[in-house]
Amino acid sequence: MTDQTPLELEKPLVTQVSDIARPGVTTGLVDTTVEAGLELKARSQWSYARQRFLRHRLAMAGLTGLLFFFVVGIFANAIAPYPIDAIDLNHIMIAPTSSGHHWLGTDEIGRDFLSRIIFGIRTSEEVGLFVAFLGTIIGLALGAIAGYFGGLIDNLLMRLTDLVLTLPLLAVLLTVAALKGEGSQWRVSIIIALFLWTGIARIVRGIFLSLREKEYVEAARASGAGNTRIMFRHILPNTLGPVVVAGTLAVATGILIETALSFLGFGIKPPTTSLGVLIADGQNNPQKWWLTVFPGLAIVAIVLCINFIGDGLRDALDPQQRRVRA
C-alpha cells in the first residue's frame, strides 16, 4: 500500500513515524516476528473474518452445496444427459425411473426432465447473480451519494425508497415485467434489480452518514483528499461487510422473485427454461407430481445454500448484527 522505495534508510524520519502510526499498513507488523521462541502472527480484520466463516459449519455446507449447483449450471451442456429440447416420442410423461435413461421422468412432450432442470438451474443462477450484482452496484452508488452529500439527493433517495415500500413488491414487479419484460431473461433480471437495490442503498447510506463526521475523514480532507477519494478509499471499505452479506442474500431473493414471476406467466417465457417456467408448465398436469416437485426442490436447495452462506458471512463480517433473518 505504501510506495516504498528500495532506499529505505534514506527516507526521512517523518515518514517512518507516520508509518508506525498506521499499524497493519507497514510491512514490519504484518511480517512474522520471532521473539524469545514465540511466533506471533499479526492478523488483519479479514483473516479473523475468514476464520470465523470457515468455522461456520452451516455456511461451509452451504458453500459446498452451492459450488455443486454452480458446477451443474456452468457445465449444463456437458452434464445434462439429453439436449434441452430433445424429444423422446417413446417416453412421453413417464414417471422417474431408475431402469430407463430418464432419471427424473419426462414432460408432456417427452423431453428429459433432468436435463431441463439442469438448464433451468443455469438460467435461475444467472438471473440471481445478475440481479444481485446490478442491485448491489446501484444500491452502493446511490447509498454512498445520498449518505455522503446528504441534503436534496438524500431526501430524494429516501422518498423514492418510501415510494417503493408503499406498494406490494410482487405486484409492481408483475406489472412492470408484464408490460416491459417481453419474457426475456435479461430484461426480467434488469427489472428485478431495479426494484431490489433499496435495501442495500439504505445500509450504505446509514454507514456513510455516521462515518462522514468521523475525525479520520476530516483528517483526510485536511490533507487534501477530494470527495471521490474519501468516498472510495476511506469510507466505502467500511461498508463492505454488510454489503457483501446483503448482496449474497439478494441472489436468493432474485431467484425466488424470478421463479414467482415466471410461474405467474409474466416473467421468463419459453423457450428459455428457468425453474419457475418448469413449475408453471408442470401445473398443466397436476397429477404428474415430478413435474412440480423436482424443480421446486432445486429452488429450495439453492436458496437454502445461499441463505446459509449469507448467515455465515453475517456472523463473520458483521458481528454486531443479529442473527435473525428478516
Binding site: 415500500l165 408483475l174 408490460l179 413449475i279 421446486g296 429452488i299 436458496v303 435473525v324 428478516a326
Partner: protein, 321 residues
C-alpha cells in the same frame, strides 16, 4: 403522539399521490386498453374513436390521470375499460375473500410463531429448538407458490386414490352450498395453511431472538434473584417485553403477506384480490390494475401507521416528536 400520527397520516397522502401518478403513467404508456377491440373486426374505427373520446383516451396521459383521479373519488375507482363494468363491486368482493384467508392465516401464524418462539428461547439449543429452526429456514427458502402446489397435488391425489374429500383445491364454495358452511372451510383450509406456514417461520424466529435479547437483561436477573418462579419470570417479565418487536414485524410484513396471498390465490383459483389482479394484468385492464395497486398501497400504509401507533402504546419509553 396525536401530532405525530397526524403528521404521518398527512405525509402518506403525497406519497400515495406520487406513487399513483408514477404507476398510472407507466401502465398507461405501456398498455393500450383498446388492443383487443382493435383486433376485433366487428368494431369499426368510428366506435373506437367514440370510445376513445368517451373515456378520454385521446388526451395525453397526465390529463387522463386527472380524469382518473376524479373518477376514483366520484365513481369509486371508476369503470374497467375492458369490460366496461364498475370496478368497485369486484374490489370489495375479492378483498373480502382475501381478508378471510389472510387474517385467519396471520392470526394462526402469530399465535403458533409466538408460542414456538418462546419455547425455543427458553429451551435454547434443544431438539425442539433445532427442529423449528430448520423448519423456519425451509420456510424462508421455499417459494410460496411451490408450497401451495405441493398441498394441491397432495389433496388432489388423496381424492383420486381414496375418493375422500378432505379439502378442496380450488375455488371458494361448491355449487349449492351455503356460503358459510363446512364447505367454505374445506375450501379455504389449504390457502390458509400455505400462508400460515410461510409467515410462521418469520414470526417464530423473531420471537425467539427477541426473547433471547430480553432474557439476558439485568432486570430479568433481578427478577430471578428475587426468587420468582421461572414461569413467572418468563411469562410476566420476559414475554411481555419480547412481544413488542413482533407487533412491528407483523405489521411491516403486511406487504409480503399480500404478495404471498396473490400467489396463493392464483394457485387455488380463489376469488381474492390477488387473483383478480393477475387476471386483469393478463388482460391489460389499466384501471383495474391501478385499482389493485392503490387499494393495496392504502392497506400497507395503514398497516405501517398502526404498527407505529401500537409500538408507542406498548413501549412507553418510545417518545414521538
Amino acid at each position: 403522539m396525536l401530532i405525530y400520527i397526524t403528521r404521518r397520516f398527512l405525509y402518506s397522502i403525497p406519497v400515495l399521490a406520487l406513487s399513483s401518478f408514477l404507476s398510472f403513467v407507466f401502465v398507461s404508456y405501456a398498455g393500450d386498453p383498446r388492443a383487443n377491440l382493435r383486433a376485433n373486426p366487428k368494431v369499426s374505427q368510428l366506435t373506437l374513436n367514440h370510445l376513445a373520446h368517451q373515456y378520454h383516451l385521446d388526451t395525453s396521459v397526465p390529463v387522463r390521470y386527472w380524469y382518473w383521479i376524479q373518477d376514483v373519488f366520484t365513481h369509486k375507482l371508476g369503470v374497467s375499460l375492458i369490460t366496461l363494468q364498475p370496478i368497485w363491486p369486484d374490489i370489495t368482493r375479492t378483498l373480502g375473500h382475501t381478508a378471510q384467508v389472510v387474517l385467519l392465516a396471520e392470526c394462526i401464524a402469530l399465535v403458533l410463531g409466538i408460542a414456538v418462539g418462546i419455547y425455543s428461547a427458553v429451551r435454547q439449543y434443544s431438539i425442539f429448538d433445532y427442529t423449528f429452526t430448520s423448519v423456519s429456514f425451509l420456510g424462508f427458502a421455499m417459494p410460496t407458490f411451490w408450497l401451495a402446489l405441493l398441498l394441491q397435488i397432495l389433496f388432489v391425489d388423496i381424492y383420486l386414490k381414496w375418493h375422500v374429500r378432505i379439502f378442496y383445491t380450488s375455488g371458494l364454495n361448491t355449487q349449492g352450498n351455503a356460503t358459510w358452511s363446512l364447505d367454505r372451510w374445506q375450501h379455504i383450509a389449504l390457502p390458509v395453511a400455505t400462508l400460515t406456514i410461510i409467515s410462521f417461520g418469520l414470526y417464530s424466529r423473531y420471537m425467539r431472538a427477541s426473547m433471547l435479547d430480553v432474557i439476558n437483561t439485568d432486570y430479568v436477573r433481578t427478577a430471578r434473584a428475587k426468587g420468582l418462579s421461572e414461569r413467572h419470570v418468563i411469562m410476566r417479565h420476559v414475554f411481555r417485553n419480547a412481544l413488542i418487536p413482533i407487533v412491528t414485524v407483523s405489521a411491516l410484513n403486511f406487504g409480503a403477506v399480500l404478495s404471498g396471498a396473490l400467489v396463493t390465490e392464483t394457485v387455488f383459483s380463489l376469488d381474492g384480490i390477488g387473483f383478480y389482479f393477475v387476471n386483469k394484468l393478463g388482460q391489460l385492464d389499466v384501471y383495474a390494475i391501478m385499482a389493485y395497486l392503490m387499494v393495496t398501497a392504502v392497506i400497507i400504509i395503514a398497516a405501517n401507521l398502526v404498527a407505529d401507533i401500537l409500538y408507542g402504546y406498548l413501549d412507553p419509553r418510545i417518545r414521538y416528536d
